[in-house]
Subunit: 253 residues, 2 copies
Amino acid sequence: MELTRKLETLLRSLYTRHGRRKSGYCVCEGVRAVGELFARRPELVRFTVATERGLAEYGPVSGALYSLSESRFAEFAGTVNSQGILAVAAIPAPPGEETPPEVPFIFALDGLGDPGNFGTVCRTLRSTGLDELWYTKGSIDPYGDKAIRSGLGVQFALKLRCFENLETLRAAAARFGYDKVFLTDPHQGESCFTAPDLFQRSVVVIGGEANGVNDLAAARRVTIPMPGNYESLNAAQAATVFLFEYVRRLTTA
Amino acid sequence: MELTRKLETLLRSLYTRHGRRKSGYCVCEGVRAVGELFARRPELVRFTVATERGLAEYGPVSGALYSLSESRFAEFAGTVNSQGILAVAAIPAPPGEETPPEVPFIFALDGLGDPGNFGTVCRTLRSTGLDELWYTKGSIDPYGDKAIRSGLGVQFALKLRCFENLETLRAAAARFGYDKVFLTDPHQGESCFTAPDLFQRSVVVIGGEANGVNDLAAARRVTIPMPGNYESLNAAQAATVFLFEYVRRLTTA
């Protein structure tokens, strides 16, 4: 099938936040990202667009499929060297406000501005077996095309919850009984390698690339020791340190 | 001063590996990267190119400075939204073959193909206080413009040594008395959180994004436990887990 003008317009609009908000859809590009989407949330898929090469790489697709030539596909792809396949999917609804998380602790991002980092954090989180990712509105849209590509579509396997700010995030966590908050801080606080209870009914907040985490009364500060005195671990690396310190405690307890 | 045609040609050539190899220079772009270069290896700087904005952001530059308009600068910059400053510098010579490393263990990259990941590993390494980074030829060029931007110029603060392959790397390490080799493996091996002697006169090798590490007889396998059973920690994240497991052992011993 050839893509209709209407779907073409929809697809193009999904590369902007405004377009995603208006339609409720997002674009998921690449073999692995599409694979994750179909494996996890096939009911969200509205249609797939692929070249012959993309289909050969991916295998058969269920639902509406539009086949395009390489040059036509390139008009729609978000990457220069595309893998020749993308799917348009409904943005997953967040868990209901009364649905409690089932994780030992809540991992949260505050004002994370880089889509590549956001996607990387999604993948890292998933590799730890945790499935809740909370974030504040100052962060980039996790359903933007870059964040989905960088996350290899892992967004569709996670429960993402967005909050107005850290205070509303904290309040929501507390209602579920996650009542300790740890803010990561490059300069001060307990070491993440020794702080007790760090991952027990707590919220661990990683700050944005530029500003670190916003302030919050009654939060404890926790820091990553850096013998190199070089302050430039990016947010995705800091997230990795915390997430795998959790795995370490889990697997060596 | 206006840029001469000759320097213009040189600068343009540095965006290719061939051009860098031919001239022995590299291009270092952005306020932080240029700052690192000037702080660490000022003797390597050949000239600086900046816009008024770039200079205002960076401060005074020593040595030859060429001022360009924003539009002229954009012709040379490797980024769309540049910070208006770049420097051309001689690629640092590696330490002499007889110069022993002064680190407890050697961190090595085998066939790391993504410049962004290579740069991120440089920054993470530096934050741990280690200064040796060894890599095999199958990796990208750490002095390419993207790797330097992503590494924020940390390359100029590290001792980088390049080897033909893992076998020659291993032999060089053994000559200095680093005689245990640990290959990171996504599937098997001792846990990185419990393997003894992991960071004691050893070499820890992280593999490329696609293929994992190449084989090597007499190497021990070490793995990152992943409760999520999701195999897609990228190489920079895997490097972070190992490097900060080293910091953890160092700071909690």
